[in-house]
Amino acid sequence: MINQLLIIMPEILLAVLAMFLQLIAVFFRRESGAKIALFGCILALGIIFYLCSSYDDDIVIFNDSFAVFKSLGLFKAIILAMALMSILIYCDLNIIEERKVKIEFVTLVLLSSLGGFIAISARDCLLLFCGLELQALSGYALAAFNTSSVKSSEAGMKYFILGALMSCVMLLGISFLYGFSGSIKFIEIKSVMSNEINLGLIAGSILLLAPILFKLSAAPLHMWTPDIYEGAPISAVSYFAASQKVSSLIVLVMVLGDIMGDYHMISNDIIKIAAILSMFIGAFGAIVQKSLKRLMAYSTILNIGYALSGVCLYSPEGKYAAFLYILIYTVAAIGFFACLVALFGDKSDEASFEDIQGIAKKRKALSAAITILTFSMIGLPPFAGFFGKYYIFYNAISTGEMSLAIIGVLSSVVAAFYYLKIVKYIYFMPASKDMVVVRTKKGLWFVTIISLSFTLFFFTFADKYIG
């Protein structure tokens, strides 16, 4: 028993850390929130190292309901690292605006990541549900975190209502699966699903997949994304767009691989349709957007489409390509958000194309950073985005999914149109109004530089990660 507790030590530590930070914040003056947050981040970094170094062998504990794999340890480290970047963005935003750092943000992000940890390790439907709920509930609070803004409250409410509905759907799906297979354990459901084609199980698996696609903001369940991205505070959005997307994608792949069994033909078709729709909607929906956050929402939908087209190939390489792609994209996205915060401070929540017009004159480094990240998202070599896309298309074509690849490349041409708009406004247009130069903080530089160097120098170490 003790042995098993040791194995899930990262999760326990994370839960303790989240609550501990909340507790000690009570005893200190509110001004020291940033220091406490930083302290928490350092402790969480310790957890990351622990995650990467432990997990020697692949085992499933707690009566076949909690998987502890080496690869999952790496994924958890990535999820937590991205969550930490969001926390850094949040802290620096408050320092820029000379506000107190509310430690609740840190607690919520850490709890939400904990939910992600549990969800990706879960091999039991109810545990999966608990993990996703913990992740989502903290997410609702994060979306509504800016209490002084009506839009933020509205975003939180919208997210909550839609998310709660999807949770119901998920529970319904789990009850279907339980009813027709007699178990809530993935391994037992899979063995039943491998035997016979059963309409109830098909309905159950579709109902189980739909909420996960919702969390990934894959079309046609993407509707919430632009609204919530627009309303929620930018630090929360950076968490939704990066850390949460990574964990949701891993959950999707786990569910597909460990539950669907021989039903994968059906589920893969669903994923494929979602991929095509996401690429289409993400590419065309963004063209008319003016707000940069809404633009990033559609860009997320588009890129989730690419990742899903890797997932639906149902090959190990395809899955790997999807992980790699989502990693490359989310790192770029979080860098993009950090740049926005560094440029505009609080106003980054409403930043539109007019705001970035002609900023290249005053903010050279940040403009160059945004431009490079944008070119990477377009998929131009030699940036990381190219290799991510290339690997997805390569796997699609070598599995014979030519149509998927063609749709993918065409939507990337459409997407280039609106990504280029960012570069156009930054460099080609004269500055329209006087820009208030926000002093950039160290944390934001840190996030930007990490994201940028990953994007820029991916080609030098790509050999290790591709293939």
Partner: protein, 497 residues
């Protein structure tokens, strides 16, 4: 890997390192004048790369068939990407041309561009690096990567330093080329999934055995991309816009180098990889090319903007290139390659001349000029030389390539040969008209009288190009020999009747 870099890698890396140096160190340098620091770094990088290209050219042995200076390093094994470089008798001339033109562009830019000097230098250096990389790479994916990287600095150059309508032109340039290149990418991935290799040396042995229907699709995917780059008739519309809006250095590099990437791609990829598909599509390509020659010449005739006129003349001249390539004869392909080199020099010079005039009068409208010759005699002389070279006067560089390609077209199809010869006549008409309208006649504006003649820098730029034009025209044999040896190994694939 870095200890035994060959000459080719050096050629690619020197401008790149110079650009990176400017980005990293010039902004924060404590030297008195940051701008001067950047300028020196850029000039040193440019001169060094020019010297290394010259060294490459001298060391290159044109009498050997096949690739020289080959170097291969593993890069990303699983997707077939190697750092695999080599030059043959065709690419070595282009690499020298790129270095010369980039150097001239840099000098010209330093004397003309006033805003964002550091950035324009970075763009020029990266562009040079990527172009050399594209011409030197023997790995198909590496070629594609360089082919695409070229887009970024060019897009920024048009957009930042361009004319009034630069936003539209830059976007059009980017989207047209990007649209084409994604199909290139799909074809390329398919080739890799079929053959497991990206080596441009191995693929010509493997790919022709694919079924013809498949070859046709792959051919089309690559052809769209290259045809947009060349540009060929229906997809050429981005070029006039891009040329008119681009700054002088941008126009020079666009006409002198970027368009050649398309023609070089046809030579290096389409012809050796898919002989059957090439023969299948040859008639269409020939017809389109000849159509482009006539159509673009006529459109050029109607232009009132100098740059647009020269841009359309580029479309017409590149028509000879694609037509020559698809005759599959030794002389046709050799002529096409020679035509590319010659056009690279001549059109670059013409754009420099337009840039020099624009510096003084700030308009590109032909009607606003007139009677410039008495006030700028040196310019008039150089202009005459390049105009005649563009028309294809015997003894100058334009003649050789056009004659060779036209003879080959004539051998394949008499009617098309005659029509393409007509294009030469129309070309002479509009170029002479342009010269007359600018240099002779009455002055349209009294300020023309105050035009200063060429400065030392401008004169030396034109002098270098002028020497090249005369040398290529008078003694084409040396270049032709190098090219034809490279071409012979290609035309073995084709059964020429």
């Amino acid at each position: 890997m870095f200890l035994n870099l060959s000459l080719l890698s050096l050629n690619i890396l020197i401008p790149f390192v110079a650009g990176a140096y400017i980005i990293l160190f010039v902004g924060k340098s404590n030297m008195g004048n940051r701008q001067a620091h950047g300028v020196y770094a850029a000039l040193v990088g440019s001169i060094l790369s020019l010297l290394s290209s010259l060294w490459l050219f001298i060391k290159f042995d044109p009498s050997i068939s096949g690739f020289q200076f080959i170097e291969q390093h593993q890069w990303i094994q699983s997707i077939g990407l190697d750092w695999y470089l080599g030059v043959d008798g065709v690419s070595v001339y282009f690499i020298l041309l790129i270095s010369v033109l980039s150097f001239l562009c840099m000098i010209f830019t330093l004397s003309s561009v006033k805003i964002y000097i550091k950035e324009v230098l970075i763009c020029l250096l990266f562009l040079q690096s990527a172009c050399i990389g594209a011409f030197a790479s023997l790995n198909l994916l590496l070629f594609y990567i360089f082919f695409e990287v070229v887009l970024i600095p060019m897009y920024l150059m048009i957009g930042i330093w361009g004319g009034e309508d630069r936003l539209y032109a830059a976007l059009k340039f980017f989207l047209y080329t990007f649209f084409g290149s994604v199909f290139f990418l799909v074809s390329l991935i398919y080739i890799f999934s079929q053959s497991g290799s990206f080596s441009m040396i191995d693929l010509p042995q493997q790919l022709p055995s694919l079924p013809l229907s498949l070859q046709k699709w792959l051919w089309l995917g690559i052809f769209i991309s290259l045809a947009i780059k060349v540009p060929m008739f229906p997809v050429h519309t981005w070029l006039p816009d891009a040329h008119v809006q681009a700054p002088t250095a941008g126009s020079v590099l666009l006409a002198g180098i970027l368009l050649k990437l398309g023609g070089y791609g046809v030579f290096r990829i389409l012809l050796p990889f898919f002989p059957a598909a090439c023969e299948y599509f040859a008639n269409y390509v020939l017809a389109l090319s000849v159509l482009a020659i006539i159509y673009a010449s006529l459109v050029a005739f109607a232009q009132s903007d100098m740059k647009k006129m020269i841009a359309y003349s580029s479309v017409a001249h590149m028509g000879y290139v694609t037509a020559g390539m698809f005759t599959f004869s030794n002389s046709g392909i050799t002529g096409a390659v020679f035509q590319m080199i010659s056009h690279g020099v001549v059109s670059a010079a013409l754009f420099f001349i337009v840039g020099i005039l624009y510096e003084r009068h700030h308009t590109k409208e032909i009607n606003k000029y007139g009677g410039v010759a008495p006030f700028m005699p040196k310019l008039a002389a150089f202009f005459m030389l390049f105009m005649l070279a563009s028309i294809g006067l015997p003894g100058l560089s334009g003649f050789v390539g056009e004659l060779l390609t036209m003879l080959s077209i004539f051998e394949v199809n008499r009617a098309l040969g005659v029509i393409s010869a007509l294009g030469l006549v129309v070309g002479a008409i509009y170029m002479l008209r342009l010269y007359r309208a600018l240099m002779f006649g009455e002055m349209k504006d009294s300020s023309i009288a105050s035009f200063a003649d060429l400065s030392t820098i401008e004169a030396s730029i034109l002098l270098v190009l002028g020497v090249l034009v005369i040398y290529l025209g008078m003694a084409p044999d040396m270049v032709l020999r190098g090219i034809s040896i490279a071409v012979e190994s290609l035309t073995e694939f084709y059964n020429i009747n």
